[in-house]
C-alpha cells in the first residue's frame, strides 16, 4: 500500500470525525451516550486501522527506506506526545519500553528477507472512563500475526495482542464563522504481548 492509499484511509477517518461532529452538535451532556460512544468507537477503530496499515507498510521489506520514513511520520501523528510501546514475549515476563518512533525503526530494521504482517478482524473496545483532566480514556485490543522469513528459508511466526490506549477529547473548531464542537481521538501507550495462540 502506498501513500495514496493511506490518504484514502485518512479521508475515511475524516468522515468518521464529521460523523462525531454531528453527534457532538446534537448531544451536549457530560456523560457519553451509547450512540456517541458508538461514533467514538468507530473513529477510534479507524485510527487503529490506520496504525495497522502503517505497521504493515513499515515492516514490509518491499517498502523503500524513504517511503517507510514518510509512513513513520504519518503513524507518529496518530499518537499523543510521549507515547510508548511496552513489549513482552513468551520467554520473558519483563516488559521492554520503546518510544513509538523507536519501535517503528526496530520493526523496519528486522533482519528478515521477507516479512508478512496480518491483522485479525477481531477487536475489543473498552468503555470510556473520564480522567481527572476531563479527557476520556479507553483501550482497544487487536491481534497481529507476524511472519518473518530469513534468507536461508527459516520462518519465525508469532501472534501479538496489542492493547492500544485511546484518548478522546472534545475540541472546538471554526467552520464558516461557526464554532463547532467535535470529538477527537488520539492513540496513546500500547502494550504488546506475545500470545501463545
Amino acid at each position: 500500500m502506498n501513500l495514496i492509499a493511506i490518504k484514502y484511509m485518512k479521508n475515511l477517518s475524516m468522515l468518521a470525525l464529521l460523523f462525531c461532529i454531528s453527534f457532538g452538535a446534537l448531544a451536549q451532556s457530560a456523560d457519553i451516550s451509547p450512540q456517541r460512544k458508538q461514533a467514538i468507537d468507530s473513529l477510534a477503530l479507524e485510527k487503529v486501522r490506520d496504525l495497522s496499515k502503517y505497521i504493515s507498510i513499515i515492516g514490509d521489506k518491499e517498502t523503500a527506506y524513504s517511503e517507510a520514513n514518510r509512513v513513520m511520520d504519518r503513524a507518529e501523528e496518530l499518537f499523543a506526545p510521549d507515547s510508548e510501546m511496552g513489549v513482552s514475549s513468551l520467554s520473558t515476563e519483563e516488559i521492554t519500553y520503546y518510544k513509538v518512533r523507536e519501535y517503528f525503526q526496530r520493526l523496519m530494521a528486522l533482519n528478515y528477507d521477507k516479512v508478512k504482517i496480518d491483522w485479525y478482524d477481531i477487536h475489543y473496545i473498552s468503555d470510556l472512563e473520564q480522567q481527572p483532566d476531563g479527557k476520556y480514556v479507553g483501550v482497544v485490543t487487536v491481534y497481529q500475526r507476524f511472519e518473518g522469513t530469513s534468507e536461508d528459508g527459516l520462518t519465525y511466526k508469532d501472534t501479538t495482542k496489542k492493547d492500544i490506549t485511546i484518548y478522546v477529547e472534545k475540541k472546538k473548531t471554526q467552520i464558516a464563522g461557526r464554532t463547532i464542537e467535535f470529538w477527537d481521538v488520539m492513540l496513546g501507550d500500547i502494550r504488546v504481548t506475545e500470545t501463545s495462540a
Binding site: I95, Y120, Y124, D127, E129, P132, Y143, R145
Partner: protein
C-alpha cells in the same frame, strides 16, 4: 464436575456459531479466531461478562436492552470466567458463588468506580544495580473530573526484614530510667539491636512511605512490571482474585484464580494478609 465441564463446553461451542463468518478466520493467516473471541481480553470485559452487560461478540448491552444483566446470560458467562486448570476451587464453591451473585432477589454486580477492589502490581526495581521485587497496590479514586488509580500500599521483602519485632520477655528494651541519662543508652541499643524492638505495641510499619522516600532520593529505580492481579471484595460474602492466563484454548485471558467465602469481620485480616505477603 463432569456436568459443569459439559456445560462450559456447550456454551463455548455456541460462541463460534453465533459469530459472523468473516471473523472466524484470521486475516489471511488461516488461524481460527474463536479462541481469541472466547478469551476475556480486558479486565473491562471481565466486568461486562460478570455483570451480563455485553453479547458474545463483545457488543455492549445498555439498560434498555432486553438481555442487559439477564440471569441466564450471567450464569453462562460467570461459569466460563474461572481458570479451569485451578483445582483449588471446588466446583460446589463455584456453583454456590454463581447462584449467589445471580440470585434474582439480591443480585451482585461489579462496579468499576466503587470501593472493594484493588490491583496488585508485582514490579521490579533496581537497588545499587541489583534487581528487587516490590509489590504495589493501587485503588481507583475520584479525582477532578474523573477517576485515577492511586498508590495505596507497598510491600517488599527488603522492607519486611527490618520489621520482625521480638515480642518475647527477652526482647531488647530501653530501661525506664533512660531519660535521666539523656537516653545515652541509645548509643548501644541502636548499634547492637533492631530498632523495631524499641517501638510501641501499637506501631505498624508503613512500607509505602519507605518506598516513596527511596524512590524520591533515587535509592531505587523502576525497571519493569512482572505480574498483575486484582482482588475483589465487592460481592458481599465472597472474596475472589483474577489473573491473566496467556494460553491457547477457550479458557484464557482474565479469569478467576481464587475464590473463597468470607465473613465481613474477616475482610480486614485477609486484606492485611494480601498486603503483607511477598
Amino acid at each position: 464436575m463432569i456436568r459443569l465441564r459439559l456445560f462450559v463446553i456447550v456454551f463455548l461451542l455456541t460462541m463460534p456459531s453465533i459469530l459472523p463468518a468473516q471473523i472466524r478466520q484470521g486475516g489471511g493467516s488461516g488461524m481460527d479466531e474463536t479462541e481469541l473471541y472466547a478469551s476475556t481480553k480486558q479486565v473491562n470485559q471481565f466486568f461486562r461478562r460478570f455483570n451480563g452487560e455485553e453479547d458474545q461478540k463483545g457488543k455492549r448491552y445498555y439498560q434498555n436492552d432486553r438481555a442487559y444483566r439477564d440471569v441466564s446470560l450471567r450464569k453462562n458467562y460467570i461459569t466460563i470466567l474461572f481458570d479451569d486448570d485451578n483445582s483449588g476451587i471446588p466446583n460446589d464453591r463455584k456453583k454456590a458463588f454463581i447462584n449467589d451473585v445471580t440470585d434474582k432477589r439480591n443480585p451482585k454486580y461489579l462496579n468499576f468506580h466503587d470501593d472493594g477492589w484493588f490491583a496488585e502490581v508485582s514490579a521490579v526495581f533496581t537497588r545499587s544495580g541489583q534487581e528487587e521485587n516490590i509489590s504495589l497496590f493501587f485503588k481507583i479514586q475520584p479525582q477532578g473530573q474523573g477517576f485515577e488509580w492511586v498508590l495505596d500500599k507497598a510491600t517488599s521483602m527488603q522492607y519486611q526484614q527490618y520489621f520482625g519485632k521480638d515480642s518475647s520477655d527477652q526482647k531488647s528494651f530501653l530501661h525506664p530510667m533512660s531519660h535521666e541519662l539523656d537516653f545515652m543508652n541509645l548509643h548501644k541499643s541502636f548499634r547492637n539491636q533492631k530498632g523495631v524492638d524499641f517501638t510501641s505495641t501499637e506501631f505498624k510499619p508503613d512500607y509505602l512511605s519507605i518506598f516513596l522516600y527511596e524512590l524520591g532520593n533515587k535509592t531505587i529505580a523502576f525497571k519493569t512490571v512482572k505480574n498483575l492481579k486484582f482482588h475483589f471484595f465487592q460481592c458481599e460474602g465472597w472474596y475472589f482474585q483474577i489473573s491473566e492466563y496467556n494460553r491457547p484454548g477457550y479458557n484464557s485471558g482474565w479469569l478467576i484464580s481464587d475464590l473463597a467465602p468470607i465473613k465481613n469481620e474477616d475482610i480486614s485480616a485477609l486484606k492485611a494478609f494480601i498486603y503483607d505477603q511477598q
